[in-house]
């Protein structure tokens, strides 16, 4: 048999799965991202109603007030499916692991000025509880959400938040030679200190939100949009200016993570708002509500972190957030 014949014989009969041909045509093979996320979730003929929620089907578009003609309109700009996601995070963790070991081996945190160490204890370590809450909230978005392009990203986000809660815990352990002094103190602050109660109250209220898309806005857009720039960027820089540059080695994961993650929240907001005026109004209302409430809740922590400049730092971050969301089409 000649080579041409065998090459001809091995011509594919199609280039793609049927759902992807319907969406994108059959001119070229789809990407792995497209294969992995489009139309994977069941949409029809559910056999039984959930015993734990008899008002809804297992997958149900009416668990949010947001309405989409096609729940797959949204695509993750990072094109994360499990493989690309874990490989990306694995590279980041390798750098983080190197940094943490380096800091530990040389006991670099012992050399920090005491005010910096105390600031880390007071401001950064309690954030592990916020990350833990974010883990729960993103898990909820995955469990109640609709469409694999959104739900799979929420799943990855949930695991990221667990990872970051663990990194923050390690900073606490590094401060105390693997004793839990800082972790215990941070928990006590989170539970009792007046400056944290507004935030804890808001996070607990998020836990009982009925609408998963509102939860998305409250957690991943409003809370993260205020908190990450304020504490993992501006506050970290303040620590560096005061001789705490080493801390930046331990928080790089968080600041990189946020820069990356903003891409998908922006895309999500843009697509959802562009779908309809009703969506746009609803999103804008949620943003307004949660940004207002959360800035008030963060204000006492910001003051503790930055002193008298805290409120203006927070306001700048808030303006940046609203401007960014305005660019995605929201009226805020």
């Amino acid at each position: 048999m000649s080579i041409e014949i065998s090459a001809k014989a091995i011509t594919p009969i199609r280039l793609s799965y049927g759902n992807l041909i319907e969406r994108f045509g059959d001119k070229r093979p789809p990407s792995r991202y497209q294969e992995a996320v489009y139309d994977v979730q069941p949409t029809a003929h559910f056999h039984y109603r959930p015993l734990w929620d008899k008002e809804h089907e297992i997958y149900d578009t009416s668990r949010t007030a947001i309405v989409m003609e096609d729940w797959y309109s949204f695509a993750d700009p990072r094109q994360y499916y499990y493989g690309t996601y874990t490989i990306a995070r694995s590279k980041q963790q390798e750098v983080a692991e190197h940094n943490y070991s380096f800091v530990e081996k040389r006991a670099l945190l012992d050399d920090l000025p005491e005010e910096v160490r105390q600031s880390v204890r007071d401001i950064l370590i309690p954030l592990r509880h916020i990350e833990w809450g974010a883990n729960m909230n993103n898990c909820q978005i995955d469990a109640m959400g609709y469409g694999t392009t959104i739900c799979s990203v929420a799943m990855f986000n949930a695991m990221d938040r667990l990872g970051m809660a663990q990194y923050i815990s390690r900073i606490g352990l590094l401060l105390d030679g693997n004793e839990t002094t800082s972790l215990d103190a941070a928990k006590k602050d989170w539970m009792e200190a007046p400056e944290w109660q507004g935030l804890r109250h808001a996070v607990e209220d998020m836990f009982v939100l009925e609408d998963w898309f509102e939860l998305m806005v409250a957690q991943n857009i409003a809370l993260d949009g205020l908190l990450f720039p304020l504490f993992w960027d501006r506050f970290e820089r303040k620590l560096s200016e005061n001789g705490g540059g080493t801390i930046a080695m331990l928080t790089e994961f968080m600041s990189d993570w946020y820069k990356e993650t903003v891409r998908w929240t922006n895309a999500l907001v843009k697509v959802t708002a562009a779908e309809s005026t009703a969506n746009n109004e609803l999103l804008s209302e949620w943003v307004q509500k949660w940004v207002t409430r959360l800035s008030e809740a963060i204000a006492p922590v910001a003051t503790k972190a930055f002193g008298p400049d805290g409120v203006s730092e927070l306001n700048e971050v808030k303006e940046e957030l609203l401007a960014r969301l305005g660019k995605q089409g929201l009226s805020v």
Partner: protein, 506 residues
Amino acid sequence: MAAKKLNLRKRYELLTRGMGWETSYQKMDDVFPYDTFEGIKITDWDKWEDPFRLTMDAYWKFQAEKEKKLYAIIDSFAQNNGQTNLADASYLSAIKLFITGVTPLEYAAHHGFSHLGRHFRGEGARIACQMQAIDELRHAQTQIHTISHYNKHFTGLHNPFHQSDRVWYLSVPKSFGEDALTAGPFEFITSISFAFEYVLTNLLFVPFMSGAAYNGDMATTTFGFSAQSDESRHMTLGLEIIKFMVEQHEDNLPIIQRWIDKHFWRAYRVLALVSAMQDYMLTNTPMSWKEAWDIYFVENGGALFEDLGRYGLKMPKHHELATAEAEHLSHQVWSVFCALGNATGFHTFEPSEEKMAWLSEKYPNTFDKYYRPRFELWKRQKAEGTFEYLASLPQLCQVCQIPMIFTEVETDPMQISFRNTKYKGDNYHFCSDGCKDVFENEPEKYVQAWLPVHQIFQGNCGGATVPEVLEWYKFQPEDGGDYFDSLDYRRWQEWHGNAEAAKTGS
């Protein structure tokens, strides 16, 4: 200061406990509204012990390593047209059933575990469930990616998710997954992690994947074994959760036993499809269904339940029947697919002479006596051109949704096993005592079942004729029917230089 050395156990504890808190602005029962209604009593979630202690950094590291290896093999398989090295193209029927039947179940498991990952009250249990949730997403996605190359070269693989929601035999796995998803969190985890993963999943993944290796299917073997490394964690979670629940409160035992009985039987019925994959669809079979059942259920399952005996747990109800059925199951399932082969999304075929000899050897009590004659008859009829597919739609069991094909194996293996019960004036039919029991414990649930055959009769599936229904399934004309009349067969012959067979069919 000199840092205290942390061992794995202690380090894991510090990185997974104490981040959660007792809420006070909202009631804990409102934050975790779903973990009490089933009646399972948990007095101390802190007693939860994690068998594996993977922090996220380790998880990312190891999983990325696995993914890199897997995708390297998938790429090289595609670049080298690895599909031409299979034992035979008829083997693809197993892969077609796999992606339409099993892959959607992986996604269902993902969904269920993310629900538990949010809604179990205990921190450790939540993390374990989240890891499983993301793993299950992995399995669905790696299966789609691996089988993508086959989809380019073979029929019947092009619309797995659309079909999973509609096709008559795919409601078997779909309804099982949804049965678990619609249950409370403790029942879900008992179903998926224990009954399915621990007790039965080895039957799917170990001999079947080893079978894929045996038939030259490097791609499937690779994703299968790669998934199994996660599966080992999942199985262990299944065992831990059972022990945890029974240790927490004595009232939990009867509830758990009832769930084990139910989900063992539900999951076992789903695996009836796997028995046909194992014995008939694999061209060369390293291990028969019966052999696999003996090792992985009778022996290993026996060891497991002996160990659980100290908690008062017993072997699942009707396990004796499942073992008695092991000599019949694959033959009965493959027969019904052959008889309805014009309405399947994969090719059916009578076993070759060689395969029949193998079946006789592996099933000395049953194959020659009960099943060989029907395959020989169909083979003859096909040669003479008199073969006809079944003209009528089969009646389905209300619970497992498999056609009524199972027989009274313990008394009269030629007698179809029929059971029925009346509920609120309507009559419901079952394939077995196992399915009837499941129904009678929760009739309100199972009367809701979306039974594909009923739905066809009610006109909800595209039309009243077979071609209309198949079109609604998005089956293409070349997807079903006899393998030797198929496009897959003709292309396979072309690839292997057999021009005559390629033109004319067999």
